[in-house]
């Protein structure tokens, strides 16, 4: 099947200027500006299939937002080719943005002075949504996201963060776009609200085959929504593949946590790392390529009075952090 998004060798260089602090530096910069080029994207290529939920992750300043902006048609890249739904986003901006929805978690997208419903009605006209479909869809979305009618009729500035976020998502999805970019959609939300948001995204993806591209720092978002992730750092893709592969292959480690009646003997076992130790418990990380889980568990059961034993995967945050750090080490050497 033809991919919905095709990105080839996307490069973006920002040109900005620099100056030191102090009055003399300020005056100097008036006369002569020292320019600085910042390579935000250094040749990024990937494809996205129709109906996918893709997670785009990376540390701050890695280039995630630049990708989102270039792909949503509001930014001219320095070079490279992007074909989405057969269009080049920044060249056919007006025509192109009709097909997409964008939510910036950190940005107010609804008119601050007006109730959200006014922005929704504007979208109805801008995206040419037939009246009956518009109201039906709006009712459905408000119900699913548990937004009361009154909330959509209150000026946006008087709403809570969670309410605004839900309204933003509604605004971005009302025209049933083929492709949706979510830039940190759960930022600042509580656990329940986050879950609601994720369920809703999943529902829309399943029902309308909407393609989602999500950037986030919340690994729960990724784990619950994405099958595939792209990790980006220093403007380059450092991983593109299934989430499960990251979990299973790249870092093949398990965490064993054991609780004891009493911790008499010293723990002696090579090939694993002790993460935490108290008189009644121990937490160890095992590299399953070097040591088998079975041997450790047998050792623990044979030598200690275990009351509890759990084996878990290390949290995804740690894995990602390792990849980031790994990348740094490779770069510095």
């Amino acid at each position: 099947m033809e991919p919905i998004i095709k990105v080839q060798n996307l490069i973006k260089v920002y040109k900005t200027y620099k100056r030191g602090t102090g009055l003399i530096e300020v005056i100097k910069s008036l006369l002569k500006r020292r320019y600085r080029s910042k390579e935000a994207l250094k040749g990024v290529s990937f494809e996205v299939q129709d109906g996918e939920i893709l997670g785009l992750i990376g540390p701050n300043g890695a280039g995630k937002s630049t990708i989102i902006k270039a792909l949503s048609g509001v930014l001219y890249p320095t070079s490279g080719e992007v074909k989405i739904l057969g269009l080049t986003p920044w060249k056919n901006r007006v025509k192109y943005v009709k097909n997409i929805g964008v939510v910036f978690g950190q940005k107010e997208q609804l008119n601050w002075d007006l109730p959200a419903i006014d922005t929704f009605v504007l979208n109805k006209d801008l995206y040419d949504i037939p009246k009956e479909i518009f109201w039906k869809r709006l009712r459905m979305m408000l119900k699913m996201l548990q937004i009361e009618k009154e909330i959509s009729e209150t000026p946006v500035r008087d709403l809570s963060l969670g309410e605004r976020m839900k309204c933003k998502l509604t605004g971005a999805l009302l025209h049933n776009p083929k492709l949706v970019f979510l830039d940190e959609p759960t930022i600042g939300l509580d656990v329940i609200a986050k879950d609601k948001m994720r369920d809703f995204i999943k529902f829309v993806n399943a029902k309308y085959k909407t393609t989602f591209i999500i950037t986030t720092h919340d690994m729960q978002d990724i784990e619950k929504l994405c099958k595939r992730i792209i990790i980006i750092n220093y403007g380059e893709i450092i991983y593109d593949g299934p989430l499960s592969k990251i979990k299973e292959e790249i870092i093949s480690s398990k965490v064993i946590e054991a609780k004891f009646e009493e911790f008499k003997k010293r723990f002696r076992f090579s090939g694993c790392k002790v993460l935490e130790k108290t008189p009644y418990s121990i937490k160890i990380e095992v590299n399953t390529k070097k040591e088998s889980i079975k041997r450790i568990v047998e050792y623990l059961l044979a030598n200690y009075e275990c009351v509890d034993l759990t084996i878990t995967n290390p949290p995804i945050e740690e894995i990602i952090q390792k990849i980031y750090e790994h990348e740094k080490i490779r770069r510095h050497s």
């Binding site: 901006r93 910036f104 940005k107 107010e108 008119n111 006014d118 504007l122 006209d125």
Partner: protein, 266 residues
């Protein structure tokens, strides 16, 4: 062209305008106030000079001129460049660009919506105040029609000039300085402070080739019946030409501005 789209954005502008309705209601009182200043200024000038006609203007004609100047100024004035500057500085531009609408048209129709409320609620009161208190004269039906056409074109020229200043913010970041210079420059060169017939002949000649007088002086003079039908039509033609030239320039400049845009704020 999709009219529904434009109607939608006009409505949206209207709603935004109504969110600040108090400010609009207040300006019903402030506009006649500045008219009063001109009224007393010219009354003392006429009394002091002892003449009844200055540069072809009687006192009554002078007050009519300023009343019309207020009306034309009120109709044509826009601060769209400040909105553009604000959106760039505050990092809101990305949100605008995500709307499936050409930037120029989106701005124009939003602004139109913002203004419609004040135009409807204030243009007629101001006209009435002019008629009753400031001896504004009624004009012939033909002149009124020509005046309205000229007024619409004037507002388009004004909009284009402001929009172009706004687009400069993509390079300069802050355009408050130019924006502040805009008011006295356009008002003065457009004939809002003094009728242009007070200017030296060479200045008047040069001003024919600049867009400024077409946003103020020309519509006023058409209302006052200073031109024959043919020259009035010719001047309307010049206005139209300015609209086209500035429009094409705006499209050209926008293309460059968009390529320059760094997507700040997100």
């Amino acid at each position: 062209m999709n009219m529904k789209k434009y109607a939608g954005i006009v409505k949206f502008g209207l709603k935004t305008g109504l969110a600040y309705r108090f400010e609009f209601i207040l300006s019903i009182f402030t506009i006649p106030l500045s008219l009063l200043v001109y009224y007393f200024l010219w009354r003392s000038i006429f009394e002091y000079s002892g003449q009844t006609v200055i540069q072809g203007f009687t006192f009554e004609a002078m007050i009519t001129y300023y009343t019309l100047s207020m009306i034309v100024g009120f109709f044509t004035w826009t601060n769209i460049e400040k909105w553009i500057e604000y959106d760039l500085i505050a990092g809101e531009m990305v949100i605008n660009l995500l709307r499936p609408m050409d930037f120029l048209h989106a701005n124009y129709f939003f602004e139109l919506g913002m203004k419609i409320f004040s135009l409807i609620t204030q243009a007629i009161p101001i006209y009435l105040i002019g008629l009753i208190f400031f001896s504004l004269k009624l004009t012939t039906f033909l002149n009124l029609c020509l005046f309205i056409i000229s007024l619409i074109l004037a507002s388009l020229i004004f909009f284009m000039m402001s929009y172009l200043i706004g687009i400069l913010a993509f390079w300069m970041k802050r355009i408050s300085g130019i924006s502040k210079a805009k008011r006295p420059l356009i008002t003065f060169l457009g004939g809002g402070i003094l009728p242009l017939s007070f200017f030296p002949e060479t200045a008047q000649y040069i001003l024919y080739f600049l867009p400024f007088q077409y946003v103020r002086y020309i519509p006023i003079s058409i209302y006052l019946g200073k031109f024959s039908l043919t020259s009035a039509l010719a001047l309307i033609g010049v206005q139209l030409a300015w609209v086209v030239v500035l429009y094409l320039f705006a499209i050209w400049l926008w293309k460059r501005a968009f390529q320059k845009f760094m997507g700040e704020g997100v």
